[in-house]
């Protein structure tokens, strides 16, 4: 099986491997969600994971948010002024932050900051048999390790996204009003006029889905670290890299998908 050289065989083998991986990921999610329904809820662990994902990332989010808003504002201003449409700056800024940039960049930042740590932590627990130890005590690892993260992700992502958006608008305001001299009434007026409930919903749906997606993949990769023969530190680092790459790609794919479904 390992020494096939025929390109067709290689393609076939890789396809099977990908399908198998997808199947395992699906089963993993279904199992976790199944145990979500059974008590106890383990509120303490959920709060701990919310702290883990959220509090550690908040500074990064505020920083990246404000700089994103600033650069967005600067770029848009220079384009809009060509058409004499700089009054629309606030609206463009807020819409793009709420609909796209906020949820996506927040998700990517959390992947880098907390997602990788999550995979590494669960991966190490897997390697050092701590997951087995939980299981042997009759405590369900899905319930104790995975579910608190999924719930925390779903709750924390929207909040961090909101922080990002607020920081972005604030950064944009600094550049537009303080730097380029747009009137602040114009800036906020255009913003308030153009934001619809749909936009907020879109942003919310996105951040909630990203929350589930990211925690799912990061937990999965950690939980199955070492499967396929990479044990020890190498297995964990491999799992972490895989998780970050896969999350980043899938966040953007899912982003396109949600946008196309919701807007059209």
């Amino acid at each position: 099986m390992d020494n096939c050289t025929n390109p067709l065989q290689i393609t076939g083998r890789n396809t099977i491997a990908v399908i198998r991986e997808m199947g395992r990921m699906g089963c993993f999610l279904v199992t976790s969600l199944f145990f979500l329904l059974s008590p106890p809820l383990l509120l303490k662990r959920i709060i701990k994971q919310m702290h883990f994902i959220g509090v550690k990332t908040i500074l990064v989010i505020v920083l990246t948010g404000s700089f994103t808003g600033m650069v967005l504002s600067l770029q848009s201003y220079h384009v809009l002024i060509l058409f004499g449409a700089e009054a629309k700056l606030g609206s463009i800024l807020a819409l793009s932050l709420i609909r796209e940039i906020g949820p996506v960049i927040t998700a990517l930042m959390i992947v880098g900051r907390a997602g990788s740590a999550l995979t590494a932590e669960i991966g190490i627990m897997r390697m050092s048999e701590q997951v087995d130890a939980l299981d042997a005590m009759g405590l369900n690892p899905y319930k104790y390790l995975i579910n608190p993260n999924l719930i925390a992700g779903i709750l924390v992502f929207p909040v961090l996204t909101a922080f990002f958006i607020v920081a972005g608008i604030w950064g944009g305001y600094l550049v537009a009003v303080k730097l380029t001299g747009l009137s602040s009434g114009l800036f906020y007026g255009a913003m308030a006029e153009s934001i619809l409930m749909l936009d907020l919903k879109l942003g919310l749906y996105k951040s909630v889905s990203f929350g589930l997606l990211v925690t799912w993949i990061c937990c999965y990769k950690g939980f199955y670290a070492g499967v396929g023969g990479n044990f020890g530190a190498e297995g964990v680092s491999r799992a972490t890299t895989d998780a970050v790459v896969l999350c980043s790609v899938l966040v953007l794919v899912l982003d396109y998908y949600i946008t196309s479904v919701m807007l059209f």
């Binding site: 190490i124 050092s128 048999e129 087995d132 130890a133 299981d135 042997a136 005590m137 405590l139 023969g229």
Partner: protein, 242 residues
Amino acid sequence: MIQIIDLHKKFGENHVLRGVSLTVNRGESFALIGASGKGKSVLLKHLIGLMKPDKGQVLVDGEDIGQMRGRKLKALKDRFGIVFQFGALFDSLTVYENVAFPLQEKTKHSAAEIDKIVRRELANVDLEEAADNYPAQISGGMRKRVAVARCMVMNPEVILFDEPTTGLDPVISNSIYHMIQNLRNTDNLTSFIISHDIPGIFKVVDRVAMLHEGKIVASGTAEEIQNSDNPVVRKFLMGEIE
């Protein structure tokens, strides 16, 4: 009480267990010996359902644990205690919290009761001072003892020990052996011990089996094994190179 029937386990091309059959009776201390890397730990994990056999069965009180699901499997796990080879302590918790963890999660004891039990078990393995350290801050032998304490707090009926005394000094080893013997006499504890402590382990257990090339090549009372004329056993006990 535990019956292993023709157990096979493969990891890819690595055929680790190739038809292991053995029986452990209720209330006895049973030792499994064998060369390193031959599948002793793998066998142990099958006894509590952490690994699934490719072929064969593990029966506990006549019931196949491969067929058990949900609550039944949980009830089985509650009767078993396991000490992993490398301790498998939760490294986000202190020594104290590690030992208290199963009590907090699985029993309805009050905090004061839990504290009493935890302190007692920590004292049993001579670790009261290390209570507030994290697993990364203590030595390998200490970790092992914490793992023993964590296993004992739940008063299991059956204990699965993966090398409980490897890396411990003779005094502590003896105290762990004493603990096992005492519990066997008072609580009818059944223990399944993997050990490299030869000949020390022979003084402690009732029966011994040797795993070689994925099979049990010899089993019997400690004396029978020590006086065995099976060449494989003799060579192993004498430490001869094949």
